[in-house]
């Protein structure tokens, strides 16, 4: 039998156990970003400070709703929550409204959100390249918008 190709079992668990975030914090994963929030409220839902929203998903609260560029989503009654004398934004209710999938490990206080289908509509309908943001090996942030004016080949590969 030939040696197994591209087997790296030693890489399955190569890391030492370390805290995901400082005690009492919450981590949100969104499109490759890892946002550690010092303050959140949880009651089955993920409640974040409205001021943290732009750093998480690019939306900001305006009188007309939660807005991202020209897109504004009117807020349902359950999305702004008063607790302990403070206002919180119900991020998971917002995701559910937009049919944005998410998974969570509530014990570890980590929420991971998929991309919003709303943000993908121009790709699926008009074939416009989707927004993405990645960091290259030199540490530069690469965004789809930065490629405008050039032809680009986006190509994936893997070591496997």
């Amino acid at each position: 039998m030939a040696k197994a190709m591209m087997a790296n079992p030693e890489l399955r668990n190569p890391f030492k156990t370390t805290p995901v975030h400082p005690e009492g914090s919450t981590t949100v994963l969104y499109q490759g970003k890892k946002i550690v929030l010092a303050e959140t409220g949880t009651s089955g839902s993920l409640l974040v400070r409205p001021d943290d929203l732009p750093a998480i998903n690019g939306f900001e609260l305006k009188p007309e709703g939660a807005c991202y560029n020209d897109l504004c989503i009117p807020l349902a009654a359950n999305m702004l929550v008063e607790a302990d004398g403070r206002e919180w934004f119900n991020l998971t209710a917002f995701a559910d409204l937009l049919e944005q999938p998410w998974v969570a490990d509530t014990q570890a206080r980590v929420w991971s959100f998929a991309e919003m289908p709303t943000k993908r509509e121009s790709t699926m309908v008009n074939a416009m390249a989707p927004d993405f943001e990645v960091t290259d090996r030199q540490g530069n942030v690469v965004r789809m918008a930065d490629l405008k004016g050039k032809k680009a080949l986006i190509v994936t590969w893997s070591s496997w």
Partner: protein, 213 residues
């Protein structure tokens, strides 16, 4: 990835760029030396979370998209090989790849919208895989698994990766990425079994190429 460096040099057009993304949870330790061996001048990304694949709904590597100067996709989700390859495992071997992709790419860079390989937006849109709610959710689960792996939480990593594979069984990326971290590797018995099932059930390993000749 020397092939893409060679293509970049042959095209030699300052208004053409290549973004080459390694979809690899092994990270820099695994993908970095392969990049370095190519002496690349193109943009290199080690995409541990498979962000690029998710953005374009790719389910396999190598996959690609051509983007024009206005940010419009003109081709998408094609097995981007420069030649036909053969891999063997014991007495089994499979062929993969093609020799039509690179000439078509060069034609597009040279001729732009006039290239016969440019597809209409409606064609491109129909060639982008439509991912269900569960398939999108798989991306979130995969990344949650990656986070736990990076923090040494092996059981939680495996739990979330298994969820990702279950939610998006079409993703060859998720299946083979996981196999990479086993003794049998990504081209072992499990992979051959999967390939056999794809062939017997008529499932495309890649979306069929449809370049005009």
């Amino acid at each position: 990835m020397p092939v893409w460096q060679q293509v970049l040099e042959e095209i030699n057009d300052p208004n053409f760029v290549i973004i080459c993304a390694a979809e690899d949870v092994g990270g820099e330790a695994v993908a970095g030396p392969i990049f370095d061996a190519a002496n690349p001048t193109y943009t290199q990304v080690v995409d541990v979370d498979h962000i690029i694949s998710s953005a374009f709904n790719f389910v396999n590597v190598p996959s690609s998209a051509w983007i024009d100067e206005e940010g419009r996709i003109v081709r998408v989700d094609e097995g981007s090989y420069s030649k036909i390859h053969t891999i063997s495992n014991g007495d089994q071997s499979i062929e993969f790849g093609n020799d039509v992709y690179t000439p078509a790419l060069k034609d597009w860079v040279a001729n732009g919208a006039a290239s016969k390989h440019v597809q209409a937006p409606t064609t491109v849109a129909s060639n982008i895989r439509v991912h269900s709610f569960d398939q999108l959710k798989a991306d979130a689960a995969f990344r949650l698994g990656n986070l736990f792996r990076e923090h040494g939480e092996a059981d939680k990593a495996d739990h979330n990766w298994a969820m990702a594979r279950k939610l998006n069984p079409e993703s060859v990326n998720f299946i083979r990425q996981d196999l990479t971290l086993t003794d049998e590797g990504s081209a072992g018995a499990s992979f051959m079994k999967m390939r056999g099932r794809y062939e017997s059930e008529g499932i495309d390993y890649y979306r069929p190429l449809d370049f005009q000749t």
